[in-house]
């Protein structure tokens, strides 16, 4: 199995999962407990060199992340071609696969980060992101 095959399979999985979970975007998930959110926020601190919820920085803003097509954050114009062309829609499933190994999931992404390897940490991070990136509720999308 070549690394290229794995990368292609990973991207296909993300796209397929994102499509299959499209309806889940509107279904309220079980609210995470406070401890989960606290752990998730602490893990998000690892992203702070490049990302913020309400501002485009080296990486795109995360406000409004869930349900957004990858490569389309308002006002962010320095996406890699790989990300723009990925056809990913961000959901719990697609984020889980991407965050585990970004460069494997989307070869050519500018996010040169090995990934959040611990499934529990990814789950906490994604739970926090779901709460913290609700546009108009928790944050404001900047242009």
């Amino acid at each position: 199995m070549t690394s290229g095959w794995r990368a292609g399979a990973a991207l296909a999985s993300i796209v397929a999962l994102a499509a299959s979970s499209a309806t889940a975007q509107t279904t309220p998930a079980k609210a995470p407990d406070g401890a989960t959110l606290q752990r998730g926020e602490q893990i998000y601190a690892r992203c702070a060199a490049c990302h913020a919820v309400e501002a485009n920085r080296t990486g795109p803003q995360h406000c409004g992340l869930f349900g957004r097509r990858a490569g389309t954050a308002p006002g962010f114009d320095t996406y890699s071609k790989a990300m723009r062309d990925s056809n990913i829609v961000w959901s719990e499933h697609s984020l889980d696969l991407f965050l585990e190994a970004p460069t494997r999931a989307v070869p050519g992404t500018a996010m040169g980060y090995a990934g959040v390897k611990d499934p529990r940490e990814r789950a906490d991070l994604i739970a926090w992101l779901r709460e913290a990136t609700l546009p108009g509720v928790r944050c404001r999308v900047s242009r």
Binding site: R46, A48, A49, C50, A55, M111
Partner: protein, 196 residues
Amino acid sequence: MNGQRLVLPQTFSVLSRRRALVGSGLVLSASAVALLGGRDALAAGAKASTADVEADVRILNTALGAEFEAVAAYQVGAESGLLGKDALGVALAFQGHHKEHAAAISATVHKLGGQAVTAKAKYNIPVEKLKSQADVLQYAAGLEKGAISAYLGAMPLFADKALAQMAASILGDEAMHWAVLRQVLGETPVPSAFMS
């Protein structure tokens, strides 16, 4: 600073304001130059694939973008009027380090045949949230912590081990910044045995 006095070791070297504010013409330290010694694989006579070089350049350019933002953030802090004399000296020293990191990374990208990103004209620094010295230092500490994690996450991805070594060198510096800022903020400077 929450009433805390910034205490620095006698040997702590604070860059002069003039040097720290000079954006160009930085002279790389001998160690930085040594780290830019060339592609590990090429030096060994092996041929690095174009894809590997391109991937390394992408990682470096992302790091470079973050370094430029750190320089801008410290500039905002320095010009905010919120920092006392001692804290201002530290902020300018750390800003100077980030300028050196940026210069080293940019030179490396060029050495690899890539095009280095340049600093943006404007950064989204949340100035409305910076109302005290502690706010400024807390914001800087958050950026430094993020930088540590970013370099830690980048290191295993480099095809060229020399670049991973350079990233480790920068990571060590960022970790020292974070610890000093936490100390000044009255937090445990080194809160754990491992970073992630």
